[in-house]
């Protein structure tokens, strides 16, 4: 059950409160609230749909960061029914808790799952470094990808990060090199690669596990070169223009598809993934399976050529 409501979800919250009151009344007394409840539920669905059909880019950014939105490990758990063996460490420095991965059995098929992981409460958010990986996170991800390639298993990455960690030690250990290496290697992976943005897709930190045969975005996620807040701070020289920046960056799934920078948008349940995580898991899983089935038919060479062609074709410019 959702307990946190975003500012623009106020009308939803009011209706949910009314429904809860009505339920309470009907439980405590003999008053028949059935009709009222039906009406309220219809109204709730309608209001939710209206709000969610008309989300502004900034509101989508807010939904993508909703504290109750499911994170990577929850998706993997649901996809595999718990048949998942998490693998740790980059074999060099340490295990990065902001990047998780391992083999999982999805309806009998082994898949390498990799993704940024955010924490579900204050303590875990710190433990997971808010989903901001250090270089060892990207190197761990690459190690696991190469492992998948060795055993000819497809790779699914789940992207949800506010960015690669911009810390002192991250710089010392080569954050730039770690991400760059992943781009170069992911382009050439012989196995099918599917990337899904399930929350925030911030810049190089997202792209570092984001080179795939199919790159998909869930309906209420964002993907861009910079967060709206940082963009506002740099271009407007003030933190107050995040709403304008979110709009200007064309960072929604819909815009990204229109600009041919991603391959598809995955629908979310009414009211966003957090309103009905189980449904969200199902929708994402069925999209992944659908694409995997098609991708597996092609030879590695064909997939790699298509992958290179796709990314090499991105960009808009004039010539005179």
């Amino acid at each position: 059950m959702v307990t946190t409501y975003l500012d623009f979800e106020e009308p939803i919250k009011e209706l949910v409160d009314q429904i809860n009151q009505a339920k309470e009344i009907s439980e405590k007394s003999d008053v028949d609230m059935k009709k009222t409840l039906t009406e309220l539920n219809t109204k709730l669905a309608k209001t939710t749909k209206e709000i969610y059909d008309n989300l502004t880019p900034w509101e989508r950014v807010q939904v993508s960061r909703h504290p109750e939105r499911p994170y990577t490990l929850a998706y993997i758990e649901a996809f595999t029914g718990g048949n998942f063996i998490e693998l740790f460490g980059d074999r060099n420095v340490k295990d990065d808790k902001a990047m998780v991965g391992g083999f999982g059995l999805m309806d009998g098929e082994s898949v390498m799952f990799i993704g940024q992981q955010k924490g579900v409460n204050t303590k875990l958010r710190q433990y997971r470094n808010f989903g901001m990986a250090n270089p060892e996170g990207y190197r761990k991800a690459l190690r696991l990808m190469k492992l998948a390639e060795k055993f000819n298993k497809p790779i699914v990455t789940l992207i949800d990060t506010p960015g690669a960690y911009p810390g002192l030690e991250a710089e010392e250990r080569g954050q730039g090199e770690a991400i760059a290496k992943n781009l170069l290697e992911m382009v050439q992976l012989k196995v099918p690669v599917i990337c899904v943005v399930i929350g925030e897709g911030a810049s190089g930190g997202a792209l570092g596990i984001g080179i795939g045969d199919k790159v998909l975005m869930m309906e209420n996620t964002w993907y861009s070169v910079i967060s709206p807040e940082s963009c506002s701070s740099i271009l407007w020289r003030s933190w107050d223009f995040k709403v304008d920046a979110a709009k200007a960056l064309k960072l929604t799934a819909e815009d990204m598809l229109k600009n041919k920078l991603i391959d598809g948008v995955i629908k979310e349940p009414l009211g966003g993934a957090h309103a009905n995580p189980e449904e969200a898991f199902k929708l994402v899983k069925s999209e992944i399976k659908k694409h995997l089935k098609v991708l597996k038919k092609d030879s590695p060479k064909k997939r790699i050529d298509a992958r290179i062609k796709k990314f090499a074709g991105m960009g808009v410019y004039n010539s005179k």
Binding site: E171, V187, S203, V225, L261, R307, I308, A312, Y317, N318
Partner: protein, 281 residues
């Protein structure tokens, strides 16, 4: 009464009699304040002879001393920025591009060229910091990608001289994907076993560091260049402490193991020629 009173008149030369110092005759080093004539400065490849400060210079300067006899053929000289997002912050991106093109007489933040270095064919791409901070948008990515393709097909070694604040925000995710595009082309170049030398100059940060600049068979840098993923201000804000002396300089990055060597500008051509000669089949 005033505490300080002027006894003598200060400036007595009438404005009409003032001698103008012609612009651009002198260069004053921002590091050590040494003044030299522009000719001497250029002869020393825009490096302060006193403190070895390497001034930021653009493609034309690099091409002039790297290519034999300063002769080269520019590749894809006609590409210039579109405005795919119709982006507007305090200023329209379209206007920003137009104004910058007029002001700098440049098409975008990069030039790519083919010529000879020590009598051998070579392709060099060089970024220009004057054009919106050397930021990488679609044009920069495309020109690098095409230069790599040209180098791969002709089997000419590829040299990339980076100088950039990172991805160009005004092209949003299009800019981000230039990292993927250039890396994809570099993967093909590596597959073809064509040498790639990445030269990092002041400054090389953001998405440029996190893609082609760090992917050289050889990553080399000019002295004291700022090299990093996150900019120093961001890192400082993140850790809430002052940064250690020399953080994110070429020398620091070399110590951490991400550069093959540091090269003075006046030794660059000779070192490149020697290195490429050693790679010959």
């Amino acid at each position: 009464m005033a505490w300080f009173r002027r006894d003598k008149e200060g400036i007595t030369t009438p404005t009409t009699e003032k001698k103008e110092t012609p612009e651009g005759l002198w260069y004053k080093c921002p590091e050590c304040n040494t003044v030299v004539t522009s000719e001497d400065f250029e002869a020393n490849l825009w490096v302060c002879a006193e403190c070895q400060y390497h001034e930021k210079v653009g493609p034309e300067e690099y091409f002039k001393f790297l290519f034999d006899g300063g002769k080269y053929k520019e590749l894809d000289p006609n590409l210039y920025s579109a405005d795919p997002l119709e982006f507007e912050d305090k200023k329209k991106y379209a206007d920003r591009v137009k104004d910058t093109m007029e002001k700098t007489k440049l098409k975008d933040a990069i030039k790519t060229a083919h010529g000879k270095l020590d009598k051998k064919d070579i392709v060099i791409a060089c970024m220009d910091f004057k054009f919106i901070g050397g930021s990488m948008g679609s044009v920069v990515g495309e020109k690098i990608a095409r230069a790599i393709e040209f180098a791969r097909k002709k089997k000419y070694p590829f040299i990339m001289i980076s100088k950039s604040g990172g991805a160009r925000m005004m092209e949003g995710a299009f800019s981000l994907m230039q990292m993927a595009k250039t890396s994809a082309r570099l993967a093909q170049l590596a597959e073809a076993k064509v040498p790639y030398i990445s030269i990092l100059t002041n400054p090389t940060t953001g998405g440029v560091t996190a893609s082609f600049a760090m992917l050289g068979d050889f990553n080399i840098a000019e002295p004291k260049a700022l090299i990093g993923f996150a900019g120093p201000r961001v890192v400082k804000e993140t850790i809430g402490k002052d940064l250690p002396e020399g953080f994110q300089t070429s020398e620091f990055v070399l110590e951490k193991g991400f550069l093959d060597f540091i090269v003075q500008r006046n030794e660059m051509k000779q070192k490149l020629a020697l290195l490429l000669n050693m790679l010959k089949k």
